[in-house]
Amino acid sequence: MNTVKVLQVCVCVLILGQFLVSGAVPLDCKDDAGSRCASISQEKLLDRVIQHAELIYRVSEECCTLFEDMFVPYPLHVLINQAGNTCHSKHIPIPTSKSEIQQISDSWLLHSVLFLVQSWMEPLLYLQTTLDRYDDAPNALLSKTKWVSDKLLSLEQGVVVLIRKMLDEGIMASSTIFDHTQSPYDGQFPEVLESVIRDYHLLTCFKKDTHKMETFLKLLKCRQSNKLSCLPQ
């Protein structure tokens, strides 16, 4: 028994000692709740964020396809996009060409991503409720929408941490930025066709925005890992 105890003490000492003695500086971990969190390197964190973004984009693409197949006949594709409905994120000045994008700073990239993520939280919730109202909405669509909405939350958390680490800025994680009064989604339940058009538009916009997030984050990663080669040419 004595030897076991001694071993345990030694192990404890070793583990604690590693924290104290090692030269690696763990990144600051100040949560709102003040709880202890495990440190993770910036590179790994960025990788995880990118993985999240990729996955979200893939699922949003599937959602869009499912909805299209079910509710939107082919001729309507053009009609819907022509109707002048714009994605709400259009109001945000996001560069749309590679040259432009490659010239914006890291900080701007991160903030753009965060902004996008936060702007989609509520529309997704709305989407969940409205998709439920369809009689023959496929279960896959509903489950994927729900899943994406959850994943978006964790993506937001990851980006917040990244911002804190890379830019040394403290940012609130909650999405209280947006003005909810702008949301046209409250209250009324439109007719089926109108609802279909609106939902389809929402899904396509979401798909685009998730692709944006993914692209920005990948650019950021390249810049982080390989400063020289990733500079705009």
């Binding site: 990729e54 984009y57 893939r58 693409e61 594709h77 053009v78 996009n81 022509q82 002048g84 714009t86 259009k90 996001i94 749309t96 060409s97 590679k98 040259s99 994008i101 490659q102 685009k208 925005d209 692709h211 944006k212 993914e214 692209t215 990948k218 650019l219 990663k221 390249c222 810049r223 390989n226 080669s229 990733c230 500079l231 705009p232």
Partner: protein, 606 residues
């Protein structure tokens, strides 16, 4: 007004008719076939012209970005070739829908294609990979092909703007199907398991994260060398080795067949009963089986009666009947059974030494006579209770076999004991008859009449107590029992047989008799004598014992004593005892002693 419009109408009709007659018409509707962006920075759209109507037709592509009203025309019609529009970097916006239409115009009219919505990020199709090389690598292992390539020149993977996944496919010239391999984001791949001495075709393509696959590259040829696959050679060696081992094992097994068999399947010992015939048992006749176990002539059967000896039955009362007897093979002997078959519990009556005092508990009865014989005339003693127990069981017999009755006689000269002649055909122990003192024999001598005991028991007051004994049987004549019931004496004394007179009477005399001739001081010490041989006329020849071998007072299991000097029938310092025996009933053991076990009678219910 009416006239003008009518005139226009008429003119149009005429023009149409004329154009139709001439074969010209407004252009047909063009169609946008595809728009592609090779690197997500520029994109190109292609259209398909319709019928040109016989007249030179011009095509123009117009596009409108979503949520704007400005319609722009294609900036570059040349770069991408005929019927194409190339949008350069400046004209390309990502995540923005383009509304593109193509207009065909000729002298007679124009035609507009269907609009197409395009988002550049979704139409990415990279160019094919470049510089595909396939090399055969010879290392320690089996040769394989390493395929390597470069990314398409236009794709900007370095900055992370676009991420490409590669795929390659391989087949032989004559195969129908390609075998595809995924190389993920690598720019090289090792292809294994290719057949030797064959030529293979290799192609590569790539795809962005979200987009379309590129075209396959031009075929690259690679030739595999001639080699023997290591795996196959290994298997060949293993097979040969194992076959070899199998041969060796088989040969060894063959050689050591028996010992192996003995080791693996040890023989199960079967029942070993001498004379036991399994075949008889199988035939189901148990009697025959058991009969076959019978040693012929063992024990004496019908002749047994001849050897019936009337035993000396010594008892003091009805309850205690001490009978020393053998066994009569007749079935009558089975009747009475001794309650106690073992030697224990009955006191010395069961024991070899029949101690008089223990056996005498009740008052002496007229008919209970006993005599003591100090002589170790053998005999098997078997106890007989008054309840007519027949010592039927072999076990009891066995017990009795070990007990050797010793016939006692009272040393007191004034005591005359009469032998209770109520023993019927008892075999083993000689009954010693006492003569009445009226005989002209010194009173201190006891005489033993050795006579045949008639088998029936009617004349005996006591029921016979048969025992399965196999001792020599002295047929005693239960002659007149002396009427005088002599009170039992409590003392012990052994008698010895002095001689046998011609009338087959054992002359006994007590050992402590002072009148004994000093025939040999050592005679008292000697209780045993070895049997030398059995003569042809059923006579035991005893060896002259010179050594002092007094061990105990138990008489040995001798059949009888016979002396070398028996024939002379003269008093001699030996112990003449004659008996009739079947020579074959006895077996002389190596040391001169007689094995009396063979004289065990055989029971029918064996």
């Amino acid at each position: 007004m009416m006239r003008i419009s009518a005139a226009v109408l008429i003119l149009t009709l005429i023009a149409d008719l004329i154009s139709q007659a001439a074969g010209v018409s407004p252009p047909g509707k063009p169609r946008l076939t595809s728009c592609r962006s090779p690197e997500k920075e520029t994109f190109t759209c292609w259209w398909e012209p319709g019928d040109d109507g016989g007249l030179p037709t011009t095509y123009a592509l117009y596009y409108r970005l979503e949520n704007t009203e400005t319609v722009k025309e294609c900036p570059d019609y040349k770069t991408a070739g005929e019927n194409s529009c190339f949008f350069d970097k400046n004209a390309t916006s990502l995540w923005v829908n383009y509304n593109i239409t193509v207009v065909a115009t000729n002298a007679l009219g124009r035609n507009i294609s269907e609009p197409v919505e395009v988002d550049v990020v979704y139409i990415v199709q990279p160019n094919t990979p470049e510089n595909v090389k396939a090399v055969v690598i010879h290392e320690d292992r089996d040769p394989f092909v390493k395929v390597s390539w470069d990314k398409p020149r236009t794709a900007d993977t370095r900055s992370g703007w676009i991420t490409l996944h590669y795929q390659l496919r391989v087949k032989q010239e004559e195969d129908k199907e390609w075998v595809e391999y995924d190389a993920e984001r690598q720019k090289n791949y090792n292809v294994f398991s290719l057949h030797s001495d064959r030529e293979y075709m290799v192609q590569v393509r790539c795809k962005p994260d979200h987009g379309f696959w590129s075209e396959w590259t031009q075929t690259t040829y690679v030739k595999m060398p001639n080699y023997i696959p290591r795996e196959r050679s290994l298997w060949i060696m293993i097979t040969i080795f194992s076959v070899f081992i199998v041969f060796i094992l088989t040969w060894m097994l063959k050689v050591k067949h028996n010992s192996v068999k003995l080791c693996l399947l040890p023989p199960v010992p079967g029942p070993k009963i001498k004379g036991f015939d399994k075949q008889l048992l199988k035939s189901g006749k148990s009697e025959e089986v058991f009969n076959s176990l019978v040693i012929p002539g063992f024990p004496p059967t019908t002749d047994y009666d001849d050897l019936l000896v009337e035993y000396l039955e010594v008892y003091d009362n009805e309850e205690q009947e001490l009978v020393l007897d053998g066994k009569d093979l007749s079935e009558d002997s089975m009747k009475s059974k001794s309650p106690s078959d073992s030697d224990s519990g009955r006191g010395s009556c069961d024991s070899r030494t029949l101690l008089l005092d223990k056996c005498m508990e009740g008052s002496g009865n007229d008919q209970h006579n006993y005599s003591q014989h100090g002589e170790t005339s053998w005999a098997s003693s078997s106890e007989c209770s008054e309840s007519q127990g027949s010592p039927g069981s072999p076990e009891s017999t066995d017990g009795r076999m070990k007990t050797w009755p010793v016939v006692f006689s009272s040393p007191q000269p004034h005591h005359h004991y009469q032998v209770g002649a109520t023993k019927p055909a008892y075999h083993s122990v000689p009954e010693i008859l006492k003569h009445s003192p009226s005989h002209a024999i010194p009173s201190n001598y006891h005489q033993l009449y050795l006579q045949d005991i008639p088998p029936q028991e009617g004349r005996f007051t006591k029921p016979p107590c048969r025992h399965s004994q196999s001792y020599n049987q002295f047929n005693m004549d239960n002659v007149d029992i002396s009427e005088a019931g002599v009170p039992p004496s409590r003392s012990l004394e052994y008698v010895e047989v002095q001689r046998v007179n011609p009338e087959n009477i054992l002359l006994l005399r007590p050992l402590s008799d002072p009148n004994r001739e000093p025939e040999g001081s050592d005679r008292i010490d000697e209780d045993y004598s070895k049997v030398k041989e059995v003569t042809s006329n059923n006579t035991l020849l005893l060896q002259r014992e010179t050594s002092h071998q007094v061990v105990n007072d138990y008489s040995q299991d001798f059949e009888s004593y016979a002396d070398q000097c028996t024939a002379q029938q003269t008093p001699h310092p030996c112990k003449p005892v004659m008996t009739q025996l079947h020579s074959q009933d006895m077996r002389v053991m190596g040391n001169g002693y007689v094995d009396t076990t063979v004289l065990m009678p055989l029971y029918k219910q064996f």
